[in-house]
Amino acid sequence: MPKSQFIDPIKVRQAGKIEFKDIPVNQYDKSVEEEKVNFSKEQFIGIYHDMVLIREFETMLNEIKIKGEYQGIAYNHPGPAHLSIGQESAAVGMAYHLNAQDFIFGSHRSHGEILAKGMSAIHKMDDNALMEVMKNFFDGTILKIVSENHQGDLKALARRFLVYGTLAEVFARETGFNKGLGGSMHAFFTPFGVYPNNAIVGGSGDIAVGAALFKKVNQKEGVVVANIGDASMACGPVWEGLAFASMDQFEQLWEGAYKGGLPIIFNIMNNQYGMGGQTCGETMGYDIAARIGAGVNRDSMHAERVDGYNPLAVIDAYQRKLELLKDKKGPVLLDVLTYRYSGHSPSDASSYRSKEEIEAWEKQDCITSYGTELVKAGVVSQDELDAIKADVAELMKYSMKLAIDEEVSPRMDLVKHPELIGEMMFSEGSIDKMEDRPVEVNHPIEENPRVKQIANKERFAFDANGKPFSKIKQYQLRDGLFEAIVDRFYKDPTLVAYGEENRDWGGAFAVYRGLTEALPYQRLFNSPISEASIIGTAIGYAMCGGRVIPEIMYCDFLGRCGDEVFNQLPKWQAMSGNVIKMPVVVRVSVGSKYGAQHSQDWSSLVAHIPGLKVCFPATPYDAKGLMNAALQGTDPVIFFESQRIYDIGEQFHKGGVPEEYYEIPFGEPDVKKEGKDITILTIGATVYRALEAAKELEEKYGMSAEVIDARSIVPFNYEPVIESLKKTGRILLTSDANERGSFLKDMAQRITELAFDELDAPPVVVGSRNWITPAYELEDYFFPTKDWMIDAIHEKIVPLKGHSVANNFTNAEMIRRSKLGI
């Protein structure tokens, strides 16, 4: 809460009532005749053409799925095909006014939107620009394929390009728009402004907001449309996206060119069903989806229901809404009413709706009725319309033949290149700044109060005599993070950071103290307490070309953004065929002292998900070096921090933490203490407890322990650990994560596999108990301690002379606990 905004009790306690603006419903009532002043004949026909194109494309897929052939060409497509037959006017109307700088995001049912938006871009772009796009995309691979035997103009060629590229993607061909790694539900093509379509219902609801944020923060042309289904209006992330998009601060706190609402339209493609659930009347209570706008902000999101069965009605609505966005009045909510005749998917028997209902809608079919109107108004003849249909059918036949030709459109050859997908999981970029332009900051970095304060700190924890400086004098882990982050803010103009309490407060753990002074609002701000939107918007922001540091205040809140962290963030680089980069560094703070929902180390959960880099530094030197590496990279990083050690000084790196920029490569563990009798591998803050254990082992038992800090866990280089193991023959692994399913178990298994013959005892994992985290005062019974480590060594690795154990690490106890699931 900024101090500039005074909450006046007298004012807020006054009586009153909320009045809602009217939300128009299907107000458009113009005839084609009346619209002739707004549309040329070509434009009228173009609308018809684009609808027919979508209809035929999906009819083709439907016939392939149901009959195994189209126009006599047999093909088996085992993958998904969620069709929108019947919804074409909604898609074409949505796309009509948009150009390539306007981005659309969609759902699993977005073939129509891809084609509509693609055609819209083709209609508007000049030939040179089109040619550039086609030539540059995957080095002209698709262009080369569709250019063969092409007769006609460049726009016709571009149409081939669009249809073929989409279809090849649906059929998982390497020549598809995303190298076949996206498929039907995720296909997209960014040069035409088609951004990822999302197979998780409502998945685009927060990601698209991030794209709008990118447009705003980086002052880019264009708007963003989130095409989401009516049923996704029940999804948390969609609501979180709405909340994020409608924050007051855009209007009230952001300044200058940045002031004003986000340029985004939430476009509800309201086909009235969520799979088999009928939204109006069964699964939702909004009656008319546009009503939702009333609950979101003062403007009711300028919400409106539009008759999506009339393309001209949708086009009209878009024209008005785009004007609003130009005036920075976003966000906008549109409820575009439509209907799909096709089932949810080919396996759908439509048992949830009557035949009469489908027939009633078919009678009003959007293409037929629009065509009839055009003919009636004398815009075209029926013959002309029929010719369009015939031409489109020819195009589909051509595209299908090409897309199923194993020679022309092969799938990825994983026999010849077995690691092709592996190589696409990370982009491994090293980029100072995502865009080359001046950074917006409030003052030169030297004038920053935090920077000045750090200059007086001791960058190594101990003085020349080995005596530690006072905590306050020591350069702390939080200072290392700050230095790396502030440095990047002064390098990369696209970098933004946000989360809960990130501004003013300086971050809950004072990492960002001083940043508020340095940065304008649009680069550092408080988000709603809404983790799904924090991560979801960051994903959208990065997809568009920005770098971002979203923060999750407590690791325990990762569950709140489960889909974003597990399904979205890790996948889009590879699913895009490496078209998209994902420079998102998610700061995640692991707590303690605050009990069961604020003390969990979930590094293992994210390490399990392919496509994320994961690190957990435990020293100021490592924190700064790894944060620098994370921010220099182009891959998503889950950056764990421990609240136990934000104030720890640098105890290992001789000479202290360097003032200058340096990177610590991901995946390289670090030996914090050398030894020869046993290796202790740690993740996170347990390194300090391991060092205590090492000290006691040395003093009491004459055993010399080597302590290795993993630092990062994905990627991870096992070689230094194996080297250590060759020397010691014994290894204990420890972290604060729950012992069951901990990433340490994965490491223990991998170590056993890699160095079985080096082992003098099984690798032993010492993690937290598989309980809830108890109160702070009981934490020593829950989190690993030095005594646990020594007891485990005595019990499982090498009996220590004269040692008596206080904790039960026997096999019998392990079996008992496992049997009980605790």
Partner: protein, 437 residues
């Protein structure tokens, strides 16, 4: 990857070689097949070719060094590779002197581990860590006999190290041979400080596995000892001579043809003849005592008897007092006692007989060199009867049955002439034998 250059192995018994010269300098680029170095054994010199391409990264020995086979003498690899893992073990001090300081196992300072051995029980699962097992196999430690000190009695590295510190070292060659041929480790070797050498493993390199080792029976052990002592402590040689056996065969025919006559065998007759000859040659009826000779008045005739339990030589006391029939019956009696095992042990002592006859004629042996039962001075080997061309007189030649006689005598006690004459006398006695029965 860098690889060690090792002193090549030369067969089953060469423990170490003398390093002669490096043909390449450290830093030289080496091609596979280049001559790298030369070395020699006490029998021949050799040149060693490089087995792979690379850079010679290090050398650990120089001309004249004695290097145990299979030890690293250098490193071949790529420029810049770490060679610290290839410790310079070229000149293994342990080959020349025992250095106990180095042998201290790497166990925790305050935790000396006792080596506890146990009787390995077949079928018992041995709990041993992979690392300990690897070390045990490399060092040919019989780990199944060691009590483990790890969790649940698991054998861990410190146990193997403690064991190694408690037993003599084994040469690299011996380790190799033990591993290759699955031999038992001998606990005490013939090298310095008990170091076990390949030769201590006494193995036939050709039929390495085709045998089973059994403990010697007592009697075998005695025989072995006696036979070995005999050859070691005397100057034995053997003369061979034939005796016309027509008379013997006639007599034997006669014995057989005579109803009620004792079964006097050819051996009985030969022994009877020997006794007569001994009476004429007292020098042969004696014991050689090193600085004195014991001459017997009577003939105490030893007779080699083959039994299941081994060779036995019972003595017939005062054999010269016996008639042929008496001698024959005594022989049968003692031979039977030998076979039954109830012979008076006194009679088996080599001191009990003054002369021994060993008859292999029954088995078709034509000539052999019997070994003297010391301290007797001679032994007669009796061979089979074979037909031999002979001058029948009057310019006529024909085949005559001859019996081979092999007299081994101790040249310390008897001269060759005397021995020859004695042997000839036996032949004469045989050829002119007359017996009553």
């Amino acid at each position: 990857m860098a690889n060690a250059i090792i002193m090549p192995r030369q067969g089953q018994s060469v423990e170490s070689c003398i390093f002669t010269d490096w043909y390449k300098q450290v830093g030289d680029e080496i091609k596979q097949g280049d001559i790298l170095f030369a070395y020699e054994t006490d029998k021949a010199s050799f040149e060693q070719e490089a087995e792979e391409d690379g850079i010679l990264l290090a050398t650990f020995c120089e001309a004249g060094d004695e290097i145990p086979v299979l030890h690293n003498i250098g490193v071949l690899g790529q420029a810049g590779e770490d060679i610290s893992a290839f410790q310079a073990e070229g000149r293994d001090e342990s080959m020349e002197e025992s250095t106990t300081a180095e042998e201290n196992p790497e166990v925790e300072a305050n935790e000396p581990v006792q080596v506890v051995l146990k009787e390995a029980v077949n079928g018992d699962k041995v709990k041993i860590s992979p690392r300990a097992k690897k070390l045990a196999e490399a060092e040919v430690v019989p780990f199944e006999k060691i009590e483990g000190s790890g969790p649940q009695g698991r054998i861990i590295v410190r146990d193997i190290e403690a064991y190694l510190a408690s037993v003599p070292k084994i040469t690299p060659l011996a380790k190799e041979v033990i591993k290759e041929e699955g031999l038992q480790v001998v606990e005490q070797g013939s090298g310095l400080d008990g170091m076990v050498r390949a030769t201590d493993l006494s193995t036939n390199p050709v039929y390495s596995n085709d045998f089973e080792v059994k403990k010697l029976s007592n009697i075998r052990r005695l025989i072995a000892k006696a036979m070995h002592a005999s050859l070691q402590n005397s100057a034995q040689l053997t003369h061979h001579l034939g005796a016309d056996a027509r008379r013997l065969l006639e007599l034997r025919k006669l014995v057989k043809a005579t109803e009620g006559a004792p079964n006097i065998t050819i051996n009985d007759m030969v022994c009877f003849a020997v006794i007569r000859a001994l009476k004429l040659f007292p020098d042969a009826n004696a014991h050689f005592m090193g600085d004195s000779v014991k001459y017997f008045n009577k003939v105490h005739l030893g007779l080699a008897v083959d039994t299941d339990r081994g060779l036995m030589v019972p003595a017939i006391k005062n054999a010269d007092d016996l008639s042929i029939a008496g001698l024959s019956s005594q022989f049968k009696e003692v031979a039977e006692s030998c076979r039954k095992g109830n012979i008076d042990p006194e009679l088996l002592s080599s001191e009990a007989a003054s002369f021994t006859v060993s008859n292999l004629g029954n088995y078709g042996v034509e000539m052999f060199t019997p070994v003297i039962n010391l301290p007797q001075v001679a032994i007669l080997g009796v061979n089979t009867i074979v037909p031999r061309p002979a001058d029948l007189g009057g310019g006529a030649y024909g085949f005559v049955p001859y019996m081979g006689l092999s007299l081994t005598y101790d040249h310390q006690a008897l001269d060759g002439g005397l021995a020859t004459r004695f042997l000839k006398q036996i032949a004469i006695e045989i050829e002119n034998l007359s017996i009553d029965f």
